[in-house]
Each structure stands twice: as structure tokens, then as C-alpha cells.
Symmetry: C2
Subunit: 621 residues, 2 copies
């Protein structure tokens, strides 16, 4: 049975930071909201070695109350808040990359904050500490990197609040950032998320020991208020499901742990909150908590796609966005808004909403590490490899950079199988689609699976603008491993993030017969693409229709032909003639058509509605 | 633009309760958790007239901090917390029914609570007020009803905490309760919901003006702590979506209303919370808040279906359960657990998860009133009518009691239309299904639509055990209006709430071809039913298969034949021969079969796989 007191916070002890370095910048640091600080100090830690070219740098930004101590530096060191992800041989491999993490402004973990001495008064800033923003944190990180002579960032990586800083980095220093990775982040807190911060701050400022923020040196500080704010925070970091598991299933909800505390200890969850609230006072400062939560609440990169798009328009990097399905604090739809904004700006982006019941904290926990860690690893390695390739190309040296490929399951692979169960690895249908698409055309592939078609397109043209849309988490992992840009979306809901004519070709390959909203999806394809290419099995194929006519039994038709009427993924049955009629009625022009007999493995030129088991049709308005 | 300060709480002012009556019970009242109270007083209000037979009584129970003032008594009166639902001509029609609502124990709104004077000391109970439970509230309500000579309750009705009391009523006094209606309730708070109560109580008890609960008569009480607890409560009563609408879309989130308050007023949501928190102190008492939240947290009717089922086993009433889709405090899955528990105990229950973005408070708001109010109205009226019918039957008088029926849309109605678009109102298929089912057999109808088949079964036998399962909210409203028991479930996910052999017949009428999990659903039907009856269109019907064979075009097949391949709801295409083969492979016996030519409107006796457009097949294992 797990210890109910365990939390993603448990590793963030009050210990000293023996490996932390610091840099002080003499002079005035002007803050975005008008305040000023003198002689700002930034505390940071680094992992791995900076290479000679200084092009192996990954900048991490921490979450709300985190610090620079990301991972252990040696075996005697305390583990950091992302020890599971960062280190030699780990997802972010410090044998390869130079990782740097700074502590945020306003924190009490080293960087200048309310507990720091104000040079003007010789006393701690306390309540006089000015309002800081995420933009100020990025500015300070940039100053530090300048000092270290770092002019390129292979990637900026951050979860939660740290993800907000990645957004700012990519927008503000587009020529410096090659990749941006965000987890469980938001462009702008919802009013619900702000509300929790408001209540937490009210608990602190209403504590009689707060003294308007000037409690330093006094016998007692606002430890009660801070503990209450932290209890509330902990509720929002977990999900309902993870709380049920922790306090109802693995524990008896009514049996509280006996602990020494001034707080209520009824119920298992009560003793957990009392413990977390009290413990937080050992390592955190109330003024800092107020400053940092305000910094989150002030973050405003837009609460709608057009506004976010405008804010991210300047970015030039590749993006990897991840959210977690049970995160209700910075909910998945906000990451999806960032993704839609990037799509509308024609940026290279991959996105997955990772299935998890661990809530907001999922990005710090081992449970989904194989997914988010794997995605980050492939994304960063591909970035690095393509950088090397480019450099080698400049030097006329060619490197093999294809990543190691783990096979998907047959259903993920979507290997085309014909009506009698034989499989064609050559994918005659893909070859025909490639025939229809000019070499350097931009292509959007709907239901791209594990990226087989996109990979072929990429091999033909390293510079064409390609993107995939896919529902399966596992397939997207595979696509990201292959260096493809694929976003998770249900195509039935349409392509509203995409502009009119954003692509030359929009492809729906062996997928139309599995979707519900056929009319809507085809309309969207011909809005977003200049041309649409649709491939589908033809129910009028003579061997199939003869089977029904003669035997009175349904033939096994199409792309999913191992399955029967009761378990096939195919939900729509149509003939090539039906599709032509449909196009006529909708006013779509059939530009070109390739008909295939996939059983014989040949193209069909005579009577395709009779003789083709599959049709590939190119449409335009 | 709506006033952002408006809330479901806004009508619950600090006003006096001029229409409230009270009753004091001399002697000791022993509480469930061991405490004792002397000379308990209960405050209550009544609406409408108690009839001579005293059989028109509806007992309401209020939510956490509510009171007895449900609705206005006259036009000069203050509106109550459910004024939209209760009154002359409203959903609960006080021209017809005698409505009674008591104030809960521990409250500060009249009934004995911490502010009341302890007869033993002559001082307010304060912190010495004992722990109360929902069971104690029910016990007190029962004592009051006994005093009033009321021995039957037409219905107990309650939302949120009030719903918990309905559960207890039905279980504890099964012979007294004829109907139970719950909205947005829970058999047992989740640890997440308890956690919010814990933080709220900690805010109160940590307030230095709390003085361990003995703050009466002191200059200041724990108004800050109570305000913070209330702010937190308000977040949980709303949903993320309703907060976005209120504070982001209709308001500028950063522009707070200027109000006089000691609390933070940054952000629109901040000034809202400050306002709600401060205002709450005008009408509520901190010790009461603690007592009442503990009473919720102690509620334990089970956190899993078997335990809830055991607790509800004794109940004999008809049930109407409603949840709201965006309620994350007492989430819909908990109402669904109650429903599953009732199903497993063979109780008569209807259930809808009402689509709403208003969060937990939806049951108090006008937005979904037409749905929940309409359901309650029909449910209560049907209960009353069937009571009258029964009484009349005893007196050998017959009354017409069929409710007024508003027609559903054609798609809701599910009127069978044949392959060439003609419609048969006679529903030959229903007549055939009725032929197969003995008159008094118990029947579960999956995908029952607006209850057309169930209604025919009910007309044949007033006593047979009938239940429907349906996904559409609108269809379930129609079924409840017809007095049928129908629960909202996606049949693809199976029937796990139902026991093996719970029904003699499980029917899947013109629905199999629209579902994805065909194998699972049929397995479940033959587990839950002794016999399964499946009706479906036969794709081998000669006119249809000839169309495909000769013209190479898909025919319009089956129950949804106005639609084409791209927009039909039918996702599965099979022939009668395919179905027989499927049954063979699964080991199901085909007991009887009726084949229909729905175009000609006749039964088919020769070569049904060729000549029937529809088949009705009875199966057993």
C-alpha cells in the first residue's frame, strides 16, 4: 500500500542546494508591470557538459514553487523534482545535452525574491517586493544565457508554469529557440484556476501574523494562511480519480493518519492536507507564494485561439505540446488552443493529450513517464540530429539519422489488407496517392496512423510542409519518433484550426469509411486544401457484390477485411458510383482517379465500379 | 450583460422567515454519532393545502446552507431558493400538493443548532454542539410529520445534500415514501469534495476570532475564516465553463468590480468571491457551517454499487434520479452509481444526466428548469394519478390517467420507415415483438426511444416489470411523462448493473445496426435476459441486393432509410443469413423468428433471407 502522504511534492525538500550556482546582475532590472529591482541575483543548476559549439543546451523552467534543483548531481545528492526524466541515459540525456534550470524571480529558493535584502533599505523586500511576470523570468534567463555565452537553445522545456515560460521564449527569441516542449500548461489561467489562487492569497493575507507582509524577524509568520493556501493547491494538483485511489481505495477514507498538527485530521484526505500544508512552511515563504501565484494569474497569452496565434506568430521553432486528460487545473483544452494557434500560424507542432488519471501533477510522476518522457526524448534527439545533419550537409558529409523504430501493432500500422485477407506491404494505394501529389506540395494527412504516407512524402522532399492528424496516442508517439509533425484531433469535429487553402493537398486515406461525419469532413478538406485525395474500398467490386447477390451474405470489404459485419471498424459502405454521385450533388469536381484491384495488385482501367476494390479520387471544388 | 455578482445564492438573503412555523420536542434527542440534544426545535414552512386523506404531501430537503423558505408565500414575500420550481401552477403545483420543507439540524436558520441556547447551560451550544448526520435530520423530519398526522409521502424531493436525505428516507421508511426524487446528489462524498470542506473548516477554526467555537457575545467572530470557506464553496458550486462565461466572456477577467472589502479584489472572479464571502457572514454562522459540512462528510451510503444497493434494498418507492453533466462537486457518476444500485435491486427508477454547463448549482437555476422541472412534474403527477387510480380501482371507478403527450421529433420517435421511404405507423415490427413476449413477462428494452414498445407492453399488463435504456435526454423525458421507467445509459458499455437473468426478455429493436459493440451487447442481453429479441433490417432483401448487383450502387437499407451511405445512423450491415451464422458461431439458439416485408406490410414465410426486409429473432443460450 502506498503511503498516502506521498505526493509529487515529496522530493522537494527544504534541503540546501549545494550544486546551485548564482549570478548577480548589477544595476536596475525593470519589471514588466513597472516595478524595479536592483542587483538581481539568479540561482541556477546545470547538468551535463556544454559542448564546444554551445549548441547542446536545453533550458528547463520549473513549476510554481519549484527550484533549480531538477535532478541529482551525484548519488549522494538529493533527487530533484524531475529526477525521473533528466540524467545520464534518461529521456533528457545529460551525457548528450547541457541542461540548465534557473530559479524564478520572486521565489524563496535563491533567486531574488521577497525574502532577499533590498539594497536600498538593507532589509528584506517583504511586502514591498514588486509584481513579477513570466516575461520577467524569461528576461532574467536570457541575461544569464548571454553571460554564459549561449546563443542557441536546442530546446526550452517546461511543465505547468514552466510551460508558460516556453511560450514566451519561443515568441520573444525566435532565432534562439529550436524546439519548445510544454507539458500541462496554459496560455492564460481560467477564472477557476485564478479563483483558487485568490482564495489561497486571501488565506495568507488574512492571517493575523502576516502583518501586511512584513513578518520577517517576527516571532511568527503567516504559517497558517500559507498552509491553507497549500492545502488548496494540493487539491488542484490531483484529480478526483487519483484522490479516490489514494484515499478511498488504498486507504479507509475515514481513518486519518495521526499526526501532530494544529489542523483538522478527520478523514484520510484531511490528514494528508494537514501534513502537506504544515510541511510546506518548512521550505516556502508566504510573500513568495503570493508573488508567484500573481505571476501565474497575470500570464495572458490569450484565452482564445486568434489571440494566442498572434502572440505566437513570431516563433520559428518546432513544438511538442502535451496535456494530461485528467488535469483540471490547466485543462487539456488550453493546450489544444495553443496547438490550434500554432496550426493557424503554419508552425511545426505535435500534440498529444496523454491519458492519465493523475491530474495536473502527472507530468512530474513516473506513471506516464514512458509516454511523455519518450516523446520528449525522440523530439529532442530528432532536433539535435537534424541540426547535425544540417551542419554536416554544409560540410558535405551525410549522416544516417533515421531513429530506431519500434513496430506498432497491426491495427496501429493500418497495413492495407484486401478483401480476401492478403496483405500488400508495398501499399499500392500509397504509391498511387504519391503519384497524384507533386513532389514538394504541402500535405495534410487526416488519420495518418503511424505516419507511413507522411514518411514517404518526407523522403521525397525534405522541405515540403507536411502535417498529420491522428487520434491514437500510440500512433502519434510513433510519428514523433519519426520526426513527423502530428496533432491529436478527432477529424469528425472538423479542421477549424486550419485556414482556408492552408495545404495544397488534404488526404483521407482508407479512413472515410470509418468516420461518422463524412459530409462535414469532406467540406473541411476542400476548404483547407486546394485538392482533396480520398481513398476508400469500393463495395461494388464484382467479387464482393456477387457474394451478396448469390449467397445472401455480406462480403468482407475493404481496409479492415479480417473483420466481419459485427466488429469491423468500417461504418460506411459505398460504391465508387455512389461517391461520384455524392461529389456531383455536392458540386465537387473529380480531377483524377486511380482505381486499384488490390487483390490482383494492379491498376484498373476498365469499368472501375465493377473491377476496382479500391478507389483513389482527387477532388477540388 | 449579467451582473457577475449574481449567484444561485443571491435569493437566500438574511431576511427573517415570517411564514416559518416551529415545533419543539421536549426531552432528549439522541444523535446517530452519540451526541444528545434536549428539547429540539424544528423550523419548517408549508405551501398548499393538506388534503383530507393527507396523501398529497411532498417533503423537500434543502441543500447545505439553505433553509425552510423554499418559495414565496405571497407576492410581498421574499422569493425562496426554489421559487422557480414550487408554487401555484409550477412544476410542483401547490394548488395540488402540500409541500413541506424543514430546516436542518445544526443550521442557524431556526432549527436547533450551535447558535441555539443549550437548556443545560443557558448559553449557546457553540463549540459544544454535537456532531449531526443526515440520518438525524431525517429522524427529526419524521417526528414532525408524525406530529402533523402525515403517514404517507407522495414524494421526497431534494437536491445536493437534500438528495442524501431522500436516500435515507426511502431506505428507512419504505412504507411511507411513494416516490423519491434526487438532483445532483451523492451517496457519499468523494475525497475531493471532502477535501474542500476540510480546507474551509481549517480556515474557520484557524481564524483567531474563532476562539475554539466560543465566539458568541465577543466583539468579533471568525468572519474572515467563514468568508474564505464560502469563497471556496462558491468555486465548487460553479463549473469551469460557467466561470469562463461569467468572468471571461461576459466580463473582462482583469477588471474587478470595486467593492468595500478586506479581501483581494484583483480579477473579476476575485471581486465576485470577495463579495460572496463577505455577504455570507450576514446570514450564516461559522459553527453551523462546520456542523453542516461535517454532516455531509459523514454521509456514507457507500462509495460502490454493491454497498449502495445494500443500503437501498429496503426501499419500495419509484425513483427519479437526475444529475448535471458539469457538476464536478457531486459528479454524475455518483448518481449513476445510485441508479445502478437501484437497478441491481430491481427497483423502479428513471435517470437522466442533464446536459448543463452550470455546475453543481444547475438544479437551483432556471437554465435547465424545463428539463428537471418537467421531469419532476410528470413524475410526481404520474405518482399521484396512479395513486388515485388505485384508490378508484378499489372503489370500482375508472379514471383516464394518460398524460398529455407532446410529440417527439421524427428521429426521436424512431418510426420505422422501410427501404423506400414509406412509413408504417402500425409498427408491424412491434406487433411481431409483442407476439413473441408473453403478456406478463418482465422486459428490458435497450434503446427504447420514446417508449413506444414499452407503452404497448404496459397497456397489455399493468403489473409486469418493464424498464428501458436510452441515450437521448429528450426521449427519456418523453418516457417519464408516460410513466415508464427508463435510465440513461450507453448500451455499448454493457449492462453490468443488471443481474444475470434479471429479465425474461431483453429487446434490441431496430438498434443493433446502429451500435459499435455488437458482440458485447448480445452477450450481455443473453446474460441479463432469459431470452433476447433482436430486430434488424436484412441487407439481403432481394430488391436491395439487386440494386447493388445491377446498378453498382448502395441501396437505402433499413430503419433509417431516408438517409444515404454518408449520413445514415446505421453502421452495421448484415443479412439474416449472416446473423444466423453469427448465432451459430456464438452458440446462441434461434428459438423463433418472424420475418417481415415492411414494404408490403406482410409477414414472410418463404426464403426470408431473400424476401424479408426485416427480421425479428428470438435467441437463447
Amino acid at each position: 500500500m502506498a503511503d498516502i502522504f506521498e505526493s509529487s511534492d515529496s522530493q522537494r525538500g527544504a534541503f540546501e542546494l549545494p550544486y546551485a550556482k548564482s549570478r548577480t546582475f548589477p544595476g536596475t532590472f525593470t519589471l514588466k508591470r513597472g516595478g524595479r529591482l536592483e542587483d538581481v541575483t539568479v540561482v541556477y543548476e546545470t547538468y551535463g557538459e556544454l559542448n564546444e559549439a554551445k549548441d547542446n543546451v536545453i533550458l528547463l523552467s520549473h513549476a510554481l514553487t519549484g527550484d533549480s534543483h531538477v535532478a541529482r548531481h551525484d548519488m549522494s545528492d538529493n533527487p530533484g523534482w524531475w529526477d525521473i526524466l533528466i540524467g545520464p541515459g534518461k529521456s533528457i540525456d545529460t551525457n548528450r545535452y547541457f541542461v540548465i534550470c534557473t530559479n524564478n524571480l520572486g521565489s524563496c529558493r535563491g533567486t531574488t525574491g521577497p525574502v532577499s535584502v533590498n539594497p536600498a533599505t538593507g532589509k528584506p523586500y517583504g511586502a514591498s517586493f514588486p509584481e513579477v511576470t513570466m516575461e520577467d523570468n524569461v528576461k532574467l534567463q536570457k541575461m544569464l544565457l548571454d553571460e554564459l555565452g549561449i546563443r542557441k537553445l536546442l530546446a526550452v522545456v517546461g511543465g505547468s508554469v514552466g510551460g508558460m515560460m516556453c511560450l514566451i521564449w519561443a515568441a520573444q527569441y525566435p532565432d534562439m529557440v529550436q524546439g519548445a516542449v510544454t507539458l500541462a500548461t496554459s496560455p492564460c489561467l481560467t477564472s477557476q484556476a485564478i479563483a483558487f489562487d485568490v482564495v489561497g492569497r486571501n488565506a495568507i493575507t488574512s492571517d493575523p501574523n502576516f502583518h501586511g507582509g512584513d513578518y520577517y524577524g517576527k516571532e511568527e509568520g503567516p504559517s497558517v494562511g500559507l498552509a491553507i493556501a497549500r492545502m488548496l493547491g494540493h487539491i488542484t494538483y490531483l484529480s478526483r480519480e487519483s484522490m479516490i485511489r489514494k484515499f478511498d481505495v488504498e486507504t479507509d477514507r475515514c481513518n486519518a493518519r495521526k499526526i501532530e498538527t494544529q489542523f483538522e485530521t478527520e478523514f484520510a484526505v484531511g490528514s494528508y492536507l494537514a501534513h502537506q500544508g504544515s510541511k510546506f512552511n518548512e521550505r516556502f515563504d508566504a510573500n513568495s507564494y503570493i508573488t508567484l501565484t500573481y505571476a501565474c494569474d497575470f500570464m495572458d497569452f490569450g484565452d482564445n485561439v486568434p489571440e494566442i496565434a498572434e502572440n505566437l506568430a513570431s516563433s520559428k521553432c518546432k513544438w511538442l505540446i502535451m496535456s494530461f486528460s485528467s488535469d483540471w487545473l490547466l485543462p487539456p483544452y488550453q493546450s489544444a488552443q495553443i496547438v490550434d494557434a500554432l496550426i493557424s500560424q503554419k508552425k511545426a507542432v505535435s500534440y498529444v493529450n496523454i491519458q492519465s488519471d493523475a491530474g495536473h501533477d502527472a507530468f512530474l510522476l513516473p506513471l506516464q513517464l514512458s509516454t511523455y518522457g519518450g516523446l520528449i526524448e525522440h523530439f529532442v534527439n530528432n532536433l539535435h540530429d537534424s541540426l547535425m545533419t544540417e551542419q554536416s550537409r554544409k560540410k558535405d558529409i551525410h549522416l544516417v539519422t533515421d531513429v530506431h523504430e519500434t513496430p506498432c501493432s497491426p491495427s496501429d500500422l493500418g497495413t492495407f489488407q484486401d478483401g480476401f485477407g492478403r496483405s500488400h506491404d508495398g501499399r499500392l494505394d500509397f504509391e498511387s496517392i504519391l503519384e497524384l501529389i507533386p513532389q514538394h506540395a504541402s500535405v495534410l494527412d487526416l488519420g495518418c496512423g503511424n505516419g507511413d504516407l507522411l514518411k514517404r512524402l518526407r523522403q521525397r522532399s525534405s522541405k515540403s510542409r507536411l502535417m498529420g492528424v491522428e487520434l491514437s496516442e500510440r500512433c502519434i508517439q510513433k510519428c514523433v519518433a519519426r520526426g513527423l509533425d502530428v496533432v491529436q484531433k478527432d477529424i469528425n469535429e472538423g479542421l477549424k484550426a486550419f485556414h482556408d487553402r492552408q495545404y495544397e493537398y488534404v488526404v483521407l486515406s482508407c479512413t472515410m469509411q470509418t468516420i461518422k461525419e463524412v459530409e462535414h469532413v469532406l467540406e473541411e478538406m476542400l476548404r483547407v486544401g486546394r485538392f482533396a485525395i480520398v481513398s476508400f474500398p469500393n463495395s461494388a467490386y464484382l467479387p464482393w457484390r456477387t457474394r451478396l447477390f448469390k449467397d445472401g451474405k455480406m462480403p468482407k470489404i475493404g481496409c479492415d477485411s479480417e473483420k466481419s459485419w459485427f466488429n469491423t471498424k468500417d461504418l460506411r459502405f459505398l460504391t465508387l458510383a455512389d461517391f461520384h454521385q455524392f461529389c456531383d450533388e455536392k458540386g465537387y469536381s473529380v480531377r483524377r482517379q486511380i482505381a486499384l484491384d488490390t487483390i490482383k495488385g494492379t491498376k484498373v482501367f476498365q469499368n472501375p465500379n465493377d473491377n476496382a476494390s479500391m478507389a483513389i479520387v482527387e477532388l477540388s471544388r
